[in-house]
Amino acid sequence: MKILVKFFASCRELCGKTSERFQLQDKATLRDLRSVVMSMHPILENMRDYLLISLNETFVTEQTELKEGDVVAFFPPVSGG
């Protein structure tokens, strides 16, 4: 299945792109996707301890299974307001 990953703020700048598509096996979880993204963009390892990940605009656990067409976003802790 194909998953669209969006990058925001410092993640976007570190990866040098706003989004990227990743091919994953069926029943892959958000944790699996995170590992794939980290291997493609090892610079994100610097943010490993505080990186936030959303699935279809919602915060979920990393055990959540992904499905075709899901949209995932990687970003740092928020700082609006």
Partner: protein
């Protein structure tokens, strides 16, 4: 009214919109761009949003605040893009029958928003620019 926008807002217009006969108190919070941050001069801030998720989070925060506090109206406007010193960033307006709930709810909206709203700011000083990253991790609302 929940909005993520590049445009400035009119506080008077938004207050007028949420005034209804059952409201006896309106509390507002306005966040503005400071000219100094941690001892450094600031030229401008740039705000970036994950807009689709930010609108959903604003809806979640508003719904949760209605559940927790006895308030009648909540309006939230957050600006994005490039903002200079003294520009408006954020407006929260809460209308309630009585003042105490309005004050508490307004503070609650602000604190939740600072933890969960997917918006990020970059500070520009005369020497450098850097992202400001929040301390909390986005999962409370």
């Amino acid at each position: 009214m929940l909005e993520i926008t590049r445009d400035d807002f009119s506080i008077d217009e938004i207050v007028q919109k949420i005034k209804t006969e059952d409201i006896g108190a309106i509390v507002s919070f306005i966040g503005i761009v400071r000219g100094k941050s941690n001892g450094k001069n600031v030229n401008k801030l740039e705000f970036e949003a994950y807009k689709k998720m930010a609108i959903l989070q604003l809806k979640n925060i508003r719904a949760e605040t209605f559940r927790k506090f006895n308030v009648n109206q909540i309006a939230i406007v957050h600006r994005i893009g490039s903002l200079k010193v003294s520009d408006n960033i954020l407006l929260i307006v809460v209308g309630a029958t009585h003042r105490d709930e309005a004050f508490k709810a307004c503070r609650h909206v602000l604190e939740q928003l600072k933890k969960t709203l997917p918006i990020w700011k970059k500070e520009f000083t005369p020497e450098e620019s850097y992202w400001i990253e929040g301390e909390t991790h986005g999962k409370d609302a």
